[in-house]
């Protein structure tokens, strides 16, 4: 069930990079259709814009959605009847056309600047220093290997297949509590694997976890991890009857 959604998202990222924004996409459509930018066939362009952003998954991006809404509004305004003799009619497309022309000019400048930068890059100055690397990511306490190892351990515990079907499966917290209490009576210290038992199902994992939390709350045991994402160690709590 998660498959198609994941694929859509990756396509979204890839295709989004082809256009630097909704105006770029609009210009692309206008060039493809070879229509006059100052007399924009708004209904046609609006439909194309909508179908392209749907196709590319760009309809998830706010900037594109805003432009889609704008196009539809202009399309609707164009359909309104014009009263005869009303010479103060303002073309609803005017603002969009102005922005498109302005943006088209910027794109031309981008080409010019790109060429200038390429030409400059062919000549070296003395003591050239490489541009500073990108800002370092926020410090993380764990490295990728730790994270992957932790994820693998969690995934390994989950029995396959993982179905997204909602089936009422009551947790057996009482059973898990009884099992852990027995273990506590036998051993002072044991691991998560001992607590959850072999071939644990998802329900077993959840039941055991809740039981452990509950017992920890009641001060029957303490839970510890030697490091983030490390294996969980369960220790029998020292009876506090003396206190």
């Amino acid at each position: 069930m998660t498959g198609p959604i994941m694929r859509d998202q990756s396509a979204f990222v890839v295709e989004l990079e082809k256009f630097s924004g909704p105006l770029d996409l609009l210009l692309h459509l206008i060039r493809e259709d070879e229509v006059d930018i100052t007399d924009l066939p708004i209904a046609k362009i609006a439909d194309q814009f909508l179908s392209v952003i749907n196709e590319l998954g760009l309809n998830q991006a706010a900037d594109y959605l805003e432009m889609a809404a704008r196009l539809l509004r202009i399309k609707a305004q164009m359909l309104l009847p014009r009263r005869l003799g009303e010479d103060e009619w303002e073309d609803p497309r005017a603002e969009l056309v102005r922005r498109l022309l302005e943006y088209q000019q910027i794109r031309e400048l981008v080409d010019w600047l790109g060429h200038a930068a390429d030409a400059r890059a062919e000549r070296y100055g003395r003591g050239y220093e490489a541009p500073p690397p990108d800002a370092p990511p926020a410090p993380l306490q764990i490295d990728l290997n730790d994270l992957l190892a932790a994820a693998e351990r969690v995934i390994a515990l989950i029995p396959e297949p993982m179905l997204h079907r909602v089936v009422p499966r009551p947790l057996d917290v009482e059973g898990a509590t009884a099992r852990i209490t027995t273990l506590l009576a036998e051993r002072e210290i044991f691991g998560w694997q001992d607590a959850v038992g072999p071939q644990a199902t998802l329900v077993d994992v959840l039941s055991t976890f809740i039981a452990l939390l509950e017992l920890a709350k009641r001060s029957a045991l303490t839970l510890s991890q030697s490091e983030p994402f490390g294996p969980m160690v369960i220790t029998r709590a020292i009876p506090r009857e003396a206190a």
Binding site: G125, R126, A135
Partner: protein, 182 residues
């Protein structure tokens, strides 16, 4: 070669960035700007043909740069790194700021049709744009302009080197302010 030209040659050789006329003139306070200009012209002539480097007017200053024909060889030998290319988004933002400066972020967003905050932060970080003043409007927004390094990475002498808008193929009138009758 006269001694002033030799002094300028030494300074330009030592520097890792373009030196402005004022900076060069400060080397010899007795010389005067006119003499420095003349010496620079003479120096440029010396390096015009018979050298692997040439004296280039760039970023409101002067700098020795290698000749273009050696670009490939030097890059291949990895004696020097080529600067990282700017992304289309960065170039768009630079183009808008170069022509509209001083300009605020909202206007850049408006012209590009997308949020430009992250791109502008990056350009500030790379020293290609900087806050030059604050606007009059609501919240006194920060207004940005281009820096000498901007001219430097494009190999421009000054902002006048940018193409004039009317030279571009799209004839665009700037939005003319409409004087609404009250």
């Amino acid at each position: 070669m006269q001694s002033l030209a030799k002094l300028l040659e030494a300074a330009l050789f030592a520097a890792s960035r373009p030196l402005t006329l004022e900076e060069l003139a400060s080397l010899d306070p007795t010389a005067g700007e006119h003499a420095v200009r003349a010496a620079l012209a003479a120096l440029r002539l010396v390096y015009a043909d018979d050298h692997g480097v040439e004296l280039v007017e760039i970023a409101e200053g002067w700098q020795f740069l290698t000749r273009r024909e050696y670009a490939e060889t030097i890059a291949r030998a990895q004696f020097a790194l080529r600067p990282r290319r700017l992304s289309p988004a960065a170039l768009e933002t630079l183009a808008i700021i170069a022509y509209r400066q001083p300009v605020g972020r909202l206007e850049v967003d408006e012209i590009r049709g997308v949020d430009s905050g992250a791109v502008m932060d990056k350009l500030v970080e790379r020293g290609l744009i900087e806050v030059v003043t604050r606007g009059e409007g609501l919240g006194r927004p920060l207004l940005y302009g281009t820096t000498p390094p901007f001219l430097e990475i494009l190999g421009l002498k000054d902002l006048e080197d940018l193409p004039r808008l009317e030279e571009l193929s799209v004839a665009l009138r700037r939005p003319t302010p409409v004087d609404e009758p009250e």
